[in-house]
Amino acid sequence: MKRPGDEDIMTLHRYASDGRILPRMSLRNRIAFYYTITTALLMAVVFAAILFSIDRIVYLHFDQDLRHEVSEILQEVRLNGKLFSGFEGICELESSDEKSPGIQSSIVRLSVESGFIQLVDPSGQVVSKSINLDRNVLAFNSTYSGVRYFNSTVGRVPVRQVQVPLINKTGTVEAWLIVAIPTRNVMLVLVELKNIMLISFPVIILLLFILTRAIAGRSIRPVDDVIAIAETMTQASLDQRISLPRKHDELYRLSFTINALLDQLQDAFQREKHFTSDASHELRTPLAVVKGTLDVLIRKPRPVEHYEEKIRYCLDELNRMARLIDQLLILARYDQESIKPKTAPIEISSVVESVIARMEQMAGEKQISFVRGNFDPGMVSADLAMLEMIFENIFTNAIKFSHAGSSIEIEVARRTALMVCTITDHGVGIPEEKLQHVFDRFYRVDESRGSSTGGFGLGLSIVRKLADLQQIGVSVTSRENEGTAFRLVFQVA
């Protein structure tokens, strides 16, 4: 049973397994997106650090000023006639015998630049304060012991203030001195800075995204070209190529590789097309001959001999066609990679001998004799049926193109780990420029598709195919009007 929500999970899973968080985003957007996210995070950290340290520095300065103020003030403050000095751990300097109830003080300087001063007794009662405080009172926190800096407000004015205990010789706190400096201006600057950063942050990020997107788009434009060309490419228009970028970078290599791939593809298509066209021509021609001959034959009554002649002629044509179909089937069968040669150790000389025996009759018709050279013993690993077919095709070819009455020389030689079999005929030979094509399908050296040799141009391509399947090397050398030599190179089993 499928539960609701399963699909969502599967979708998520699919994206996760694809490694695609943003499945529909183009590459260029993705580059810009990731770049922007990274930069945004970095910028946030940097901005926070800047704000934090400015904050710290500002308060440090305030605190320094406060300390300065406090030490200034202390020189002038008389508390119960005592003069306090120092800063941390303020203590009584001068003692006075003068005892009076309550705290008596004199704050000589009632205003400190733009700051506020206030004296508080240990119970929190304001003893004295600077005039500029007016009716306001500086905040006092009785829970603090010792010097303490903190933020506060006077009226509505933000201040940085310090609370200093005034300690007498006995070690008891006689009073608290509180000094405050308004921080408004600096705070405004700080807030302003924060605001600027907060506003500029998204703007910068947005600009950055747009810019990186544009730059990414520019730098991957060759990829778009590749896509555009690949999209327009069909089997018929395989001759298009991607123009190579000037810089030898990754995109150059990509384009270059795709072009090379296209070359191969086009080549394969071309060969396929040629093969199909040739095969259809070769099959249709005998069919047309038979059909045409019979068509004409049946139009009128004719003497018996005439019928016999035409029927015999048609049978010949049909046999020829059957041979062609056989050869095409062999090629088609071995073109499928699924068929593997059944290799076994084979004595090569014995295979050659048995094929020669079968070929004697065909050779005899042209008074061609087989001349055996060296037959070194040696086992090779091959498929017997395929190997026989290879030799049959080469011998047939040799007989076909030999001069009547000439000889065909066969030699099997051992060269360390290799067995080399050479079949040399003395016949018409193959012109040098045509030599490279002799293994091509339907290729005939003599272009007139005459019935003089009766071949289809498939025999040697079958040889090549079967040899390739068994890792047998095939090569051909030839001299026009002298003869042709085929060489088969086997690995010793």
Binding site: H281, V290, G292, T293, S448, R449, G450
Partner: protein
């Protein structure tokens, strides 16, 4: 009607020649492009059939050369290829029509007749006076009586009727009715004209073929008013 077949496949050339001759055409055969082109340019053929894949000069080239020489003879190409490109390419090279191998012989005959009809601009039926010729069934009628003729006689009469009211020289007649093997001897025409005249007279059709002394023969079609 004289045809040229340019075809290297001996089997096809053979049945084409035999079959077409039975249909009263004179047929010359060339086995390669060069020979074919030479014949096409020297002789005055009524139609040329070219195979596409022939040794020497290709069928396409033969076609082009013939057209280049200003020869408007109908060209029919025979092809075993059947891709659209090949067919379009062939037609664009100057061929009038094509037929794919293997083909029906009757279809080939019909296509040949279409081309001959076009080149003669004669319309469907051939006639001269009360004489009518059916080129499909190879029958000749004078009024309603059928006249039985041998293929050669038929071809001769057909040629004269196709060219009625035009003087046909012996050499032109021999070019269009006989193939190359009879080239030298034009007196064979006089013999066949005699045969024809006799058979026509037996059917009651007199003085159809007139002799133009020193030139050849003519069939004059009289307008009904002047008869």
């Amino acid at each position: 009607m004289r045809l040229l077949v340019i075809e290297d496949e001996a089997g096809i050339a053979r049945f084409l020649k035999e079959g077409l001759e039975e249909e009263c055409y004179a047929v010359d055969v060339a086995f390669d492009g060069k020979k074919g082109l030479d014949l096409a340019l020297i002789n005055d053929y009524d139609l040329i059939m070219v195979d596409w894949m022939i040794p020497g000069i290709s069928g396409i080239e033969v076609c082009r050369q013939i057209r280049k020489a200003g020869n408007e003879v109908p060209i029919l190409f025979l092809t075993a290829k059947d891709t659209l490109e090949d067919l379009v390419f062939g037609l664009d090279s100057g061929a009038n029509d094509y037929i794919k191998k293997p083909f029906e012989f009757d279809e080939l005959l019909a296509r040949i007749r279409v081309q001959l009809r076009r080149s003669n601009q004669d319309g469907e039926a051939l006639s001269a006076g009360s004489l009518t010729i059916n080129t499909v069934s190879h029958q000749i009628f004078f009024g309603s009586t059928e006249i039985a003729l041998t293929p050669k006689e038929f071809a001769l009469l057909e040629y004269l009727v196709r060219n009625k009211n035009r003087a046909c020289s012996r050499s032109r007649i021999i070019e269009h009715v006989w193939d190359m093997q009879f080239y030298s001897d034009t007196s064979v025409i006089d013999v066949y004209i005699n045969f024809l005249r006799k058979k026509l007279e037996q059917a009651g059709c007199c003085n159809l073929i007139q002799t133009i002394r020193g030139v050849g023969y003519i069939i004059r079609e009289f307008h009904p008013g002047s008869e």
